[in-house]
Symmetry: C3
Subunit: 343 residues, 3 copies
């Protein structure tokens, strides 16, 4: 890994230096674990005291703090830290397998330049793959799938027939994209499969986590908007549209035909029932059960989900229910007694 | 895709026509998006006003409504719509790979007629596969597994040793069937694995969604009953019996040794603790936590799950807890004051 | 399968016999289903009446009970049962494929003795695998991964680059270990991927269930402690440390940077938010939402999670909220009335 001086890093991220610009940085680390030769960052002000005692050689900060470490001052220290990590450690280097002799690539498939198609990957009939793509082992690219440039499909990811994947999309291991939506017509007690004629569209810069399941649409398409990042083991229902730049943390479930705006953030294990409209810049807490439409900018929490501020107070009071009930009974007795005495 | 006249579709589904029977239908679509050349349906009466304004060429309805579209009147419009979608679009056409030279098929395995075993699929020793099965790439059919006729195993589905799969069963991508049940004997602080000697039985017409995990039984078998449809990313515990014709929506979890009746419906992310008995025709709401046996026909909701009507009112009142506490305090003060004044 | 006499089993598990030591046992079964030639066990005293009527040939018990079955008396009957099941049924016999010609093993990989590397498994550059390992089909062992002795990686399990796996580790099918942590720096509304430079360490005797997703660390490593058993479809966040001998039941989610002690037990679908400290011997109920640090020995339940005893009473009272509100209103009216009358 390349070493960099504090000056080189500060120049790279466009920041000011307070301290010795010639200090050499070898790697990045957390505030608590960073030692000599390492760079760290402070973005949450509540950790400011820890910067005082850090053993790090350098720290990215939003404003000057008390510390022995060299300070690199920049408006968005976490973003600058990301840039520093890329500079020092780089992104994953992918094995250069070229088109493996052990891959199964259909004669009718079209491949761009500089792709690595690993052993035991399948590229089906009429699939189109752009330039510089990494198709790992066990990946299945179904018939008529199109994939843009600079994509990475990790081992055993599956893209069903006809789905469309943009540029710079990452699909992690064992994720499924485009499997049949959960659509059945129940008639006389039996459930009949409805052909799922929609597809899944993953727009540019989407990331799909390991073990995710993104259903194809029954009639309409399922869409994950540009730049949205879907954590591990998230389930997206058929025909749902996730807007651009959303963050869906692991184990979230979004049922079918939901329309979600842009820049939404969903906490772990949150669930959204089908056919709802979720506005822009909505924040949904972990384990929330969303059962109503949500307006732009709302922050909600709880099961059922309500305004987060209300929810924090209300759900914390569940604990006091036995006490409340006792008080209520006591009051009833006293009232009843005073009524008797008064009569 | 084949075009059909309204007459051909109505004849196929056994329905009456109100309007021009010669109109040509090219494809199916939702009520909101359907346009000329498309057929749609109305099954939920609350969407009746939208039929008035639909641009669809034809609409399947249960009774005559106000609309410019040609009406096809039938008792169960959603079921008829399913039939129309099959007629117009068909089910997925599977690649005709035959027995791929790149598949790994044990010499002792027995295969029926007209199977497609794709590249990089594994059929292990003594496995038996029926006629007309589609075994996609990366599928693992373990030793001694039996699979019936007309089954589809999508890419990277795994069927562990000895499991039994009926006819017309579909297992979507990256699903696991028959992995070891979660069974350990804890002794002196260490957890010792108990051999899981049961298997999984998937009865006829079962569908298992992508990313599902269906544990084999410790001693008894795990069974998914005939015609039950298991959504994506559902976890079924060891020794659990799911009855016939159940619908388990994505991300449901059923712990071990549960006995569930027929025609149950479980909402997303619902969980059932182990060893419970769930009756027939039970409906369980999304995110419900089922901790007690459930009688036939019950509809339950909430965590912990209670009667759905009660639950809807009760869980909605969590929001009012701060207000209730305040009122309680006010009453206590007033009572205390009146007592003091009275004394 | 080998038959054993009661005497042979009792000797093997170190127990006393009450009854005929020469009875032949062929297999193991549950208390309810066991019949002639079968052995079962009683560990939960509430099932004692069922032992009276069991048809089993032999039963493992902690102390003498009323039954016609031959009794094998031992301190820990469930542990003894596990030993009996191993004796009678054994653990899974793995196919002896040796190093399959259809596997893809990098020239720079180092393999121990007696490994079976199945068709379509991948062992990448510089990976190191110990003795007696079973690497099933579709498994991906990434570059620079190290795996100890006696490990089993079931079909389509994926171990990303650089991760470290101890001895006697089992990874079930379709599990992902070491995929990128969910780490993005959001800048001007776009989410930028932070290289995830940590790895995952699975210590000795760990089991990872089917469909699990264990993220690699952003900067620190993710660690699953010795002897911990992770159920199916569990999500572990980046940088989280699970201590030794923990039990995480299916569908649990643990966010990033959590530090968990030893011998913790987590119920199904429980969730833990990031950066928390969970003590030793903590028990967390199914579907619990853990949002605060948890001290050693605590048993917690509910969403939000509180002391289990409190939670059982409190959450059960949610059902009474409509009634409580009604009573409150009634009291308010009476007080108001008595005040009016008093004035």
């Amino acid at each position: 890994m390349p070493k960099k001086t504090v000056k080189e890093i500060a120049d790279h991220v466009g920041a000011e230096i307070i301290g010795d610009a010639s200090v050499v940085i070898e790697s990045a680390a957390t505030l608590d674990s960073a030692g000599p030769g390492q760079i760290t960052f402070l973005s949450n002000p509540k950790y400011t005291p820890r910067v005082k005692t850090t053993q790090a050689a350098a720290v990215l900060v939003a404003r000057q703090v008390q510390t022995n470490a060299c300070q690199i001052v920049t408006e968005d220290p976490y973003y600058a830290f990301m840039q520093a990590v890329v500079l020092l450690h780089g992104h994953r280097q992918h094995p250069q397998t070229g088109l493996s002799q052990q891959a199964n690539i259909a004669a009718s498939a079209r491949l761009g330049k500089n792709c690595n198609i690993h052993a035991f990957a399948v590229v089906s009939e009429n699939a189109v793959i752009g330039d510089n793509c990494q198709i790992y082992s066990g990946v299945f690219v179904g018939p008529n799938v199109t994939i843009g440039d600079d994509c990475v499909l990790y081992p055993n990811a599956v893209i069903y027939d006809g789905c469309q994947v943009g540029n710079r999309v990452i699909v992690q291991s064992n994720a499924s994209v485009g499997q049949d939506g959960y659509g059945f017509a129940t008639h006389k007690g039996e459930h009949h499969k409805i052909p799922q004629i929609g597809i899944v569209i993953l727009e540019d810069d989407v990331e799909i986590g390991s073990g995710c399941v993104v259903e194809r649409g029954t009639l309409d398409n399922t869409v994950i908007g540009k730049g949205s990042k879907i954590g591990d083991m998230v389930a997206i229902g058929h025909g749902t549209k996730i807007g651009p730049h959303c963050l869906l943390v692991p184990q979230v479930g979004v049922a079918g035909s939901v329309e979600m705006g842009h820049h939404c953030v969903l906490g772990g294990q949150a669930g959204i029932v089908g056919h709802l409209k979720i506005g822009n810049r909505v924040t949904i807490g972990a384990q929330a059960a969303v059962i109503n439409n949500v307006p732009d900018g709302a922050t909600i929490l709880g099961a059922p989900a309500i305004d987060a501020n209300k929810a924090k107070r209300a759900y914390a009071l569940i604990e006091t229910l036995p006490e409340m009930r006792q008080k209520l009974r006591k009051l009833e007795k006293e009232i009843s007694k005073s009524r008797t005495e008064g009569s």
